[in-house]
Every structure is written in C-alpha cells, then in structure tokens.
C-alpha cells in the first residue's frame, strides 16, 4: 500500500458517504483544522461534510530528515462531519477497513484525548484512536471554535497518513515508504517518500532551527497582525484576515522552534493570534446570518 493509495482510498470512501472532497490550503498550516474548510465550516448551523488531505507543518518537529519517525511536515487526512452522525464511530471503523485493516486480527481502542487549539480559540473532547498500540487518529467532537460555542457539533476525524502507511507496510523508516509508482515509457519506478521529501525536510529543519532570521520573523508577525486587523476592522473581510492569522501562527511556530519565545511571553503571543482568529469567526457568522445563501463556506 503506497501513500497515495491511502489518500485515494480515504477520499473515495468519504466521497461515497456524502462528503465534499476538499483540497489542502495554500498557506502554511499546522493541522487540517486550520484550513478554512474546517475553521469556518464548523461554525453556524448549516450541515457540512468535507474531507481532504492537509500537509501540516510543525517546525519544532523537524529532524533534518534523519529521524525515521518524526518530520517537519506530515500529511493529515481530515474529515469534518456536521452534525456528528449517530454512527460516527462505526463509520470511522469502516474507513479503516477500507484501508485494508482486518478487525478480526487487530486491536482497537479509543482513549481519552481532548483537543485544544489555543491559537484558534477552539477545543473539543474525544479520543486518540489506538490500533495495536499505535495512535493512528485523533477523533474530536468540536465544542467550540473561534471562541464560539458550536451547535450543531461537528465530529472531526484526522488520520496520520505516514504512520498508518508505515504500520500497514511494516516499515521502520518514514523515508522508505513508497509514495507511488511512476510509469513512463522507460518502465515503472517506485518513488519513495524520501525521494520526494527528505531534502526538503533537511532544509526546512535547518531553516527552523538555525537560519530563520529572528528580527525578520518578529517583523512579519507584527506586520501580519496589523494587516489582519486592518482587513477585518476596516473592511469586514474575514477570509483575507484569517489568512493573516494563519501566517501569524506559522511565524510564531518558526520563532518558537528557534527558541526565541520565552515561556512567559508565550501565552501573550498565542493570544494575539487567537484574538484575530476569533474576530474572523465572529465576522463570518455575522455574514452568514445576514446572507444565509452567501458564498461563504
């Protein structure tokens, strides 16, 4: 089973069950939750099912492409089901069966793991899903996003694609995974995850830990904040303002990986991102209420 097969199977599975198949966002995100398809999609009353893969950047997790288990950027498969269906756990288990997991031979547990994103003003309760001792998914009932209580409640399923792939293929090194086969006139060549990603991992780890310019990033952080508030306050534009919040979040993560944020400063910095994100959420809801048929997600 190759990485791309897993993605295709999950997409097909959820498309058949009434989900829109979304696309990754083109701005750095730390998780699928930050994609506007989720952040705005879970707000308000209208039903919303969406699934997509999200390349998620975690600068502090970078290991220069040397650690076989940890990477700067990994692939999250994200599903939002709103309202959360009564059979949601069964549906999730069926999706694993679709990946070829035979439950007559495997162990499955749902262990308490409540999720919180202080930068998005969001939290939920749920589990980490543990298959044969390995955490393969995070399963969350969203209670709040952008500082707003959610009703209906969305169920969020996230799958760590590399981990599941390593597990299913028995690989000990993420870079040995096969991403897919490239077939040309010259023949078929399997392309590994390492070929696609390893050098990128090295450079981005080096950047996050050593080369990122601190003054430049502090400047960016402040500038994005200012820009975001200008868009939100002056124009009431929540999508463009939210992009600024995402950029603030990523900039903060880089600064954090560089060790430039002290523990005392940390909560204050996170709050600045959250304030903007929460402002965007409120503006989105105002817009929805005023124009229910409007083009917002």
């Amino acid at each position: 089973m190759h990485i791309q097969d897993l993605i295709l199977r999950l997409q097909a599975f959820f498309a058949e069950r009434g989900c829109l198949i979304g696309q990754p966002y083109d701005i750095e995100t730390g998780a699928g939750t930050m994609n506007p398809l989720t952040f705005f999609g879970v707000l308000g009353e209208k039903p919303w099912n969406v699934a997509y893969v999200e390349p998620s950047r975690r600068p502090a997790d970078g290991r220069y492409g040397e650690n076989p288990f940890r990477v700067y950027q990994h692939l999250q498969f994200q599903v939002i089901l709103k309202p959360s269906p009564a059979r949601v756990q069964d549906l999730y288990i069926e999706s694993l069966s679709a990946l070829g997991i035979d439950f007559s031979k495997h162990d499955l547990r749902f262990e308490e793991d409540n999720w919180e994103s202080p930068t998005l003003g969001a939290w939920g309760v749920g589990w980490q899903v543990v298959l044969d001792g390995m955490e393969i998914s995070q399963f969350t009932y969203f209670q709040q996003a952008g500082g707003i209580n959610l009703k209906p409640v969305s169920a969020e399923l996230t799958y760590g694609m590399e981990r599941i792939c390593m597990f299913l293929t028995g690989q000990d090194n993420i870079f040995d995974l096969v991403w897919g086969d490239v077939k040309t006139d010259l023949g078929t060549t399997p392309v590994t995850y390492g070929q696609v990603r390893q050098r990128h991992e090295y450079e981005l780890s080096a950047y996050s830990f050593e080369h990122a310019d601190l003054d430049f990033h502090w400047h960016l952080f402040n500038a994005h904040e200012k820009e975001g508030w200008r868009l939100l306050k002056d124009l009431g534009h929540f999508y463009s303002a939210y992009e600024q919040a995402l950029k603030m979040s990523h900039t903060f993560n880089v600064l954090d990986a560089r060790g430039a944020v002290s523990t005392t400063e940390r909560p204050g910095i996170i709050k600045r991102v959250r304030d903007l994100a929460c402002g965007c959420a409120r503006a989105y809801l105002d817009f929805e209420t005023a124009a229910p048929a409007g083009g917002a997600v």
Binding site: K105, V153, A155, T264
Partner: protein, 696 residues
Amino acid sequence: MSEPRTLLLELHCEEIPARFLRPLTDELEEKLAGFFKAQGLDLPSEDDNESTSFVQGLFSPRKLAWMVLNLPERQPDQTEVQVGPPQRMCVDEAGAPTQTGLKFAEKWGVPYSEVRFELPKGKKEPCAVLTLTRPGRPTVDLLAEALPRLIASLHVPKAMRWGNSDFEFVRPIRNILCLFGETVVPFELDGVKASDSTWGHRLHHREHPEPVLLLRPEYYESALEQAGVVASFDLRRERLAAELERLAAEAGGRVVEDEELLDTLALIVEVPHVVRGAFPESFLSLPKEVLVTSLKEHQKSFCVEDAEGRLLPLFLSAANRRDDPAGFVQAGNEWVLKARLYDARFFFAEDRKAPLESRLEKLKNLTFQQQLGSYFEKTERIMALTGPLAPRLGLEEALAREAARLCKADLRTLMVGEFPELQGIMGGEYLRHEGAPEAVWRAVKEHHRPAGAEDHIPATPLGGLLAAADKLDTVCGCFAVGIIPTGSKDPLALRRAGQGVVRIAWEQAWGISLSDLISAGMAVSASRATGEAAATKEALASFFQDRVAYQLEMAGFAGSVRRSALAVGWSDLVDLRARCEALSAFAEDARFASLAQSAKRIGNILKDEPPGPGLDPSALVAPEELALSARLAHLEATKDHPSLLSDLAELAGPLEAFFTAVMVKCEDAKLRDARLGLLRRLRETFLRVADFSLWQ
C-alpha cells in the same frame, strides 16, 4: 405484596474517559439509593432493620451499569398529613363546618367527616388536619419518571454535546438498557429509548450484527461475557494481574509492579488480555527509569525484570480483545515501542552532547512561579539554603552547593521535556555520565523524593538535604507571597512538599530544628516577600506543626502520645521522636498511672496560680519538702527520657508525703512562694516530656 424484582440500568456510550468511570457509577449509585429510600422502596428485611435492596455499580469503557436487587414491584401505600386553616375559621359557634372548613376537605377530595382538629407542630392554635392515603404506585412507573432526571443530574466535570442536541453528558449515549424484572422500564433520554437489549464488544458485533437481548437482569454479566465484555472492573483487573504474572514468569522474570498502571489498563479494556512483546536488547543501555517511564507513559506497558532488578528486553501490554490470532497486536506494539525507544535514545544522546550545566542559563526564562521568579532564581535560593545547612549535618559544603546548582538544569533537557516525571532522575543520570562525584549525581537524582506518602525519602544524606531544601524553598517562598493552602485548596501541593521536609528531617534524624529551617527558608526568599514577616512565620509554624502531627500519626504513635508530646514542642524532631518513643514504651508500664496521677495533682494545685518568683530552696523547712526538693535536683539532672519517666513515676510517694505534711498555700508568703516554686519546677520537669493533662 408480590415478589421483589431486580432492576438493571445500563447506559451504553461511546468510550468514556477512564478517569470518570468510577465517579459517575458511584454518584448514580448514591442517587438511586436516595431515591428508593424517599419513595419507600427500600424494603426492610425480616431479620433486621437493614434495607435488603442495594445498588451495585458495574463499569467498563463503554458502559455504566447499575444492578439493584430486591426492589418491590409496587410502592407501599403512602400517607401524608395536610394541615389546613385554624379550627376557629373552619367551625362556627354552633360547631357546624364553615365554608372554609368544607373547602379544605373538598380541596383534598375527601368528605368533611375525615377532617380532625389538632395542634400541628409549629402552629400556635389548633388547625384542620387531614391524613391522606395515596395508594402506592407501580415501581416501574416511578422509575420511568425518575431515571431520566437522575441520569441528567449526574455531575460531569468535562461534559460535551454531540449531534444537534443541547443534551450534555460525558460521551454520547448510544443505547439504554433498562429492565425491571422482565419488564422494560419505558423512558427516553435525548431521543434514546430504553430497551431490553444492548451491545457487546465492538469487534464482536462485526461478526454478530444483532444486539444482545436480555430476558432478565440477572443474566447481564454472563450475556456480556459471551458478547466479549467483562462487565466488572474488579474481575478485569484480577484477570489482567494474573495474566501479567504468568507471562512474566514464563519469560523468567517478574513484572515491575505499578498499581496505577494496572488500574488504568483495567479501565480501558472491555475484555482483558495481555500481550507480551520484545524490544531490541540494545535499548537496555538506556537508564532503567527511562525505559519504565517510556513504556508506561507512551504504551501503557509493563516492564519485566529479573531477580536482581535488571530489565529484560520485554514488555507486557493489554489488548482490548480476547486473542491475537495473527500476532498483529504483538507486532504492532513492538513496532510502536521501538519508535518510542528510538526517540528516547535520541533524546538521551542529544542531551549528552553538551554538559548539563550548559542548561543553567536557559533556566532564566523558565518560570517557577510568577512572584518567585525563574528556576534560575530558585536554584540560587536552594544553593543559599544547602550551603550553610550542609556543615550542620556533617556534609561537605562544596558538594552541597554543587548539587544544588545543577539540580534543576535537567528541566531544559529534551528527555525531561518529553517525560516531566523524569525530572531530577535525568539530571542525576547525565551527571553520572559526565563523571560528577557520586554524592552529587545521587543527590540530584533523588531530590524529587518522596514523590508521595508511598515513596521513599532520598537514600543519601546529601540527597535528603537537597530534597528538603528544594521543598522548603517552595513552601517558604509561596507563603511569603501569600500562597497558603486552605481547606481543599492547595494547587501547588505545598502540603505534600512540607510533609516531605518533615519526613526527611525525621527519618534522617536531623539535628536542626524546624524553626531554624523556617527561618532559613524565609531568609532566602525575603527579597520576594509581599507579606508581613511575622505573620508569614506564624503561618509557617502552624503549617509545619500540622505536618509534624501527621508525621507522628504515620509513624504509628497513639493519639494520647501524639497530643501530649506535641503540646510541649514540635520543632526539634529528634527530641520529639525520643519523647514519643519513651512515652509509647512507658505507657505500657504498670507505674504509668501513678506518673499521670502525680502530674495531675501538681497541675491541679497550680491551675489558678499566677506565675510567681523562682524556687528558693533555703526557705523550705519541712523534711517532706526537703526530700521533694532533693528529688527535683535528681530529676533535673536526668537527661534521657526513659529514665526521666521512670523517675517521675517514683515521685508519687514523696509527693503524697509532701501534700499530707505541708499546707502549700500557707499564711507565710515566703514559704508559700517557695513551695509553689518547688511545684512549678516539678511541673516543668514533666513538661520536658509531655503535657500529661492532654493524655486520655
């Protein structure tokens, strides 16, 4: 009345967090018992007055269940008394009922003839009174009304909503089973109707799609067992423990015991099964604590050790299924564990690339407590405490300062970032690898001990000093900025820290009083203090007295010994311990009664006396008082507590002779003062050991 029946209620949910299973079960157990009592449904048994109906709670990851035995089918008839208007308003002068009187009877639907007049409690005049009898209602109806309300009233600390409803619970309720005998109790909760069926193990139903039908509550546990669920926590725990032991023994070792982990496992599996796996032997080069912690925290797995306590390259994990037919569960756990240990080895190697002391600078931006500053500042305070205290404990000052300087540095290592519970331990390990003096690395390694009442204190004297100094600084610093535990509020666990200080000083027999330690602790945080020093000192003294009292209790001394010994001094622990031991031993002695009697006689006569001048032996005249004075000199020269107690017991005779022969409060003021002075000095001798007036 017909036969009593059994009630079964089961809420089948999505996986409930392990930590809430027992509290929720217990809470509804209590609420049900209260409800049955209020409704007259707790049948008294024939033999005694105890109720025969009782509630038994059962819980497993997806199920909260309650079984109630011996509930009557119908409530007994209920009588209630209704008080109406005063008699004078209900009856006219001729004795005939008034309009008001008739209306009262009509309101309750009974003929006026049933109204009687009496003086109800709390009223000033006779009133119309009715005793009404309501026929008892069928239990099933009462349950159908009450259960939704009782369930919804459960206190859920981290409640959630789901779907499109406002209903809140710990996790979504997906099925309700509720049988009273063979009857379904008809009620509904957030759209889920109670029924006579439930679901077994999740994976069981992938092969058997039908729900588990239950004919009678009594079949509950056996029906679930067939469907792959062990309903009882105790049973799951027992089976896990037995399997762990068996599998460890098979591999030639024993389980590294951990009751907490065993509890956790019994809470997260519906059916107990243990899987044994192996990890590459090369990981055994990691410190044992790292392996045990990593296995526990990341994989909820037990380590296996040999007879000498050396780890074997094996682990034991619980699986939530009955078997492992393809070996996938074992292989999966081995795979994950390898990844985890790889990470741990990475941290261990990375951390050692630079000496531990290189992290000291980074402690400056790690906050210990807002008003008390960073860990760097805390480190400086611990150094300022350990330095001067070390020589008083016969320890080398330079070593003590060095251990203190480095004790918090590991907070900035990768390993402790990953496993906070390894703080101290890693610092010690890294120092050992760096070739630090053994006393230093051992002290750092054990300076978090005792972690609780169950844990040991540090084994080395320097470790004890460092551990106590760290905790003393935490307690004194917090008190100085006004963070003082009250009632159940002790967010920084200061009581535990304080207890640690007392336990270390007690068990290592420190010749330093707690008063001295408090002063030292206050001195190092004086620059941060926000409160009045005198008030802080008083609060600390009272706080530590409580800790000492608890220490005496833990040491097993009887209440009378603790009370009377503590009353005359709590600060010098070595002396306190000697006094308590002497008292405990002497309490068994036949002469103890006579000692207590003497103390009481002296106490009584001095009770209302103001303090007077000291004893002037030259003023004494009677041979009996001269004899007593000689005794006093002997008592005051006796140093050890057992001999002193023995001598005090011998005082009864001379004291008796003294009281018979002389009149203490005589006319001659000089003589009276001398006699009272003699008695005061004797009393002080008793008080060197204990205040016997508190002995009961």
